[in-house]
């Protein structure tokens, strides 16, 4: 937004970026989360080219090798899978696909859902009604059927998978946004903006959206986990990502049958998902505070003490 430029902070105050950094430093949990996510992101970018070969090298005789064998190189520390491939390396290589599908689906569904929700809450009742009933339809369309249809008609690929998962998640964002908009649009500051002649677009995105955004971010971070796991369920049914592509979800579903005798097969990818979700959530909780002027002191005070 044009208003968020640096010139709106008077000279005595540090720039926005510096302030955000300080606030991040003030929250140890959020800081660790941010670092973890950066690492995951880096891994996702370089993983396949770095460890791609190692992660697919099979060794049937070393299958289901247990973890914590420190005598071997680090890629073996998490043990090996049913084809004797190092789990650590596979998790690293899988990060790319996993994040692509999850981030793609979450971003797509949240953006579409939010925009539709804003429109549904703010426009004429008729438009609202149409959008909402559309959401009802998507909501009652079993995601699995969408998956079968899309993947059967369009074929299975990462992009299509992302699409399927995105479609099924639209209604949450849509309904949440609309419900909040209905209330927020009655608030006085929204009316004040109307009096100033702000366009609907500006009112929606500048005045209403920021109020709904924290809730949506919370939902989106949780959806990350949902999407990663749903993708695993689809793989298991034969309509998701299939080997030799790998994702954490697929690794989990492959480890499923070994749950009782080789727990590590599904445990590590599960842990990766949990840690990613947790980091995202810690970060979104931090952001909720950092972006809310009424709450921001929580971070700034701490920052002050630390600094």
């Amino acid at each position: 937004m044009t208003l968020a430029t640096t010139d709106n902070v008077i000279a005595a105050e540090p720039s926005l970026l510096v302030r955000m950094m300080r606030m991040l430093l003030a929250d140890k949990f959020a800081l660790s989360a941010a670092i973890f996510l950066l690492v995951i992101l880096a891994i996702a970018i370089i993983g396949p080219s770095w460890l791609g070969d190692l992660a697919t090298k099979q060794n049937l005789r070393g299958r289901n090798l247990p973890p914590f064998d420190w005598t071997r190189t680090w890629v073996w520390w998490m043990g090996a899978d049913a084809l004797g491939r190092p789990l650590f390396a596979r998790i690293i290589v899988a990060a790319q696909n996993t994040l692509m599908v999850a981030a793609g689906a979450v971003i797509l569904s949240s953006v579409i859902g939010t925009v539709l929700g804003l429109i549904a809450g703010f426009s004429s009742p008729r438009t609202g009604q149409i959008i909402m009933r559309l959401a009802d339809v998507i909501m009652s369309f079993p995601s699995l059927l969408i998956a079968v249809i899309v993947l059967y008609v369009l074929g299975s690929s990462i992009l299509n998978l992302m699409l399927v998962l995105a479609i099924t998640r639209i209604p949450v964002y849509l309904r949440t946004t609309r419900a909040e908009v209905l209330e927020i649009r009655e608030r006085m500051f929204v009316q004040a903006a109307r009096v100033m002649g702000a366009s609907s677009k500006r009112i929606l995105f500048r005045h209403i959206l920021p109020v709904v955004l924290p809730t949506l971010t919370t939902l989106a971070t949780l959806d990350f986990a949902y999407v990663m796991l749903a993708e695993s369920a689809l793989s298991f049914l034969g309509i998701g990502i299939q080997p030799p592509e790998i994702t954490w979800g697929l690794m989990i579903s492959q480890g499923r049958q070994y749950l009782t005798n080789a727990w590590w097969l599904s445990f590590w990818p599960g842990l990766a998902i949990i840690l990613t979700t947790m980091s995202l959530n810690l970060l979104s909780n931090w952001m909720r505070i950092a972006l809310d002027p009424v709450q921001r002191w929580r971070l700034e005070m701490k920052g002050g003490k630390n600094g």
Binding site: N8, I10, E300
Partner: protein, 547 residues
């Protein structure tokens, strides 16, 4: 030493902000006895609300911090009291009327429930509490109290909400009532009722009242003693008479001198082509008729004051004119075009010419925007007004004009006092350089010195730029100083409409006369001889200006 009911000793409060620590209250001390009324006067933003919130334990800590002092209630320090005991004090022994009734009422519960809760919390049976609530609503003059009990805060007018707050605070007959600007949104007749109610209760129960106000008339009417605050410190204390007759501190002197109602009455010029011509505007909420056919004309550069009973439809009219609530019928010709018939896109083009300052400043400011963003938003929306490079400069200028400073620019609304927020809202309306500003109680939360400054500013704009005003107010002296015409409303109708001189000097309607009669004089000695003929009264309540 006889123990005081309330004793505040060396209280200091500070707030942490991004830009540094704000010392809102700096080592103030005062005391209050049973049955006594202490008024806190002072500049807007001087720490009146903060210090009284400290008594109620309502300061957000952190970011706020009580950095020193003690608050003794019957000799016991409230600041060190165990939490459970502290909670029992609130509501039962000390009650508070908040400055900003809309945000302080829970939007999702009916008013009746909220009033009753004050009592049930402290052990009263539900049915009894409702009965009592009903009685209180009636006492504060809410029409149709039975129905009102079931209504939600947003369905009330500003003054009605304030009265709901009052009813809530009085529910448990506290030993100490802290009233933060309890009558800012009330017309003078209702204000008189409320003050009478307070005095009665004081007589009955020996309640002590700590009243924060900027209205010298109210002070004169109800207070025994006065303390004056400026910039977080206590600058003067004394009885009402002492302070009024013999102010010591320069600020106090300025305050008293600034009391409105002493200027020359405007004489509107010849009627020309009206800027705005309103005909037969009606608006109903369900079966309730809020506006019953309002018609008037407004010339360019003129000020139309709207006064009248709380709940008579003043804000509704303002909202209807701006199409914030669609009126049911009627026309409003703006330079010959009917505002009510415009399509949204046409309306959009006209928006910048018509601005409004809302009655509830807090709610009308987006809590997530800094003051700079709030004010400069006008130029983001209408980029042709001002090039971006000049925004900062102009914001600073506007802030200075309404008595704030440039360093407030990066603060957020919640970091301001009620009066300061109101001034931000005014600055925002001015930023658009409109042709008509509708001011809904725009200066009611300002202390007289700032009020005078703002009124002067508005008057200057009117003279120099020809801005017209619809000025909703209950403060008759202000109206007298500023307006050209007055429109008196009662129950959704205009009961009297005329030039300022016509209405103030020869009121025709009984209601107008009552209104003028109920206006309070800041002179504590004036109240004895109050119910004189209204016309003369209007003269009496104007002390001599000390130039």
């Amino acid at each position: 030493m006889a123990e005081h009911l309330l004793e505040v000793r060396n209280l200091s409060v500070e707030f942490h902000t991004a830009a540094g620590v704000v010392h809102a209250v700096k080592s103030i001390s005062y005391h209050l006895d049973k049955g006594e009324t202490l008024a806190i006067l002072g500049e807007s933003g001087s720490g009146k609300s903060v210090s009284s919130s400290a008594i109620m334990n309502l300061i957000d800590m952190p970011p706020g911090r009580i950095s020193g002092g003690e608050i003794l209630l019957d000799g016991r320090d409230l600041l060190t009291m165990p939490a459970e005991e502290r909670r029992e004090v609130n509501g039962r022994r000390v009650a508070m009327i908040f400055q900003d009734p809309l945000s302080h009422l829970n939007p999702v519960y009916s008013v009746g429930w909220q009033i009753a809760e004050a009592m049930t919390t402290h052990g009263l049976a539900g049915s009894k509490a409702r009965e009592e609530g009903l009685r209180l609503l009636r006492r504060v003059g809410i029409p149709e109290p039975e129905r009102a009990m079931r209504k939600y805060p947003h369905e009330f007018s500003g003054g009605q909400r304030q009265r709901v707050m009052i009813a809530m605070a009085l529910a448990l007959r506290p030993d100490l009532l802290i009233a933060d600007e309890p009558t800012t949104a009330l017309d003078v007749t209702v204000q008189a009722e409320v003050l009478k109610l307070l005095k009665e209760l004081q007589r009955e129960t020996g309640m002590a009242v700590l009243i924060i106000t900027h209205d010298l008339g109210v002070v004169a009417e109800i207070a025994d003693r006065v303390v004056v605050m400026e910039k977080g410190t206590l600058v003067e204390a004394g009885t009402v008479r002492e302070i009024y007759k013999n102010p010591q501190h320069p600020y106090t002197r300025k305050l008293i001198a600034a009391a409105p109602g002493k200027g020359v009455m405007h004489e509107p010029g010849a009627r020309a082509e009206p800027l705005l011509s309103v005909r037969d505007v009606r608006k109903t909420y369900g079966s309730f008729e809020a506006l019953k056919g309002i018609s008037f004309d407004l010339m360019p550069g003129e000020t139309m004051a709207v006064v009248g009973e709380s709940g008579s439809g003043k804000s509704t009219l303002a909202r209807a004119l701006l199409r914030l609530d669609e009126p049911d019928s009627g026309t409003a010709l703006w330079k010959g075009r009917d505002l009510f018939a415009l399509s949204p896109s046409e309306l959009y083009k006209l928006r910048r010419d018509l601005q409004m300052v809302f009655q509830d400043p807090t709610q009308s400011l987006n809590p997530r925007m800094t003051v700079f963003q709030l004010i400069s938003e006008a130029w983001v929306i209408h980029p042709d007004i001002l090039p971006k490079a000049r925004w900062r400069e102009r914001v600073a200028e506007l802030l200075a004009q309404v008595g704030l400073s440039a360093e407030h620019m990066s603060r957020y609304p919640h970091q301001f006092s009620g009066g300061q927020r109101q001034r931000i809202a005014i600055a925002r309306a001015l930023a658009l350089e409109p042709q008509l500003i509708i001011c809904d109680e725009a200066v009611s939360a300002l202390d007289v010195s700032v009020q005078a400054q703002v009124i002067e500013l508005l008057d200057k704009l009117r003279r120099e730029m020809g801005i017209a005003f619809i000025f909703i107010a209950h403060d008759l002296p202000v109206v007298r100083d500023f307006a050209d015409h007055v429109m008196v409303m009662q129950q959704g109708e205009i009961v009297e409409l005329g030039t300022i001189r016509e209405v103030f000097e020869t009121p025709r309607q009984a209601y107008t006369r009552a209104l003028l009669a109920a206006s309070l004089s800041p002179d504590p000695d004036a109240k004895a001889g109050c119910p004189e003929p209204p016309a003369a009264d209007a003269e009496i309540l104007i002390p001599k200006r000390s130039h």
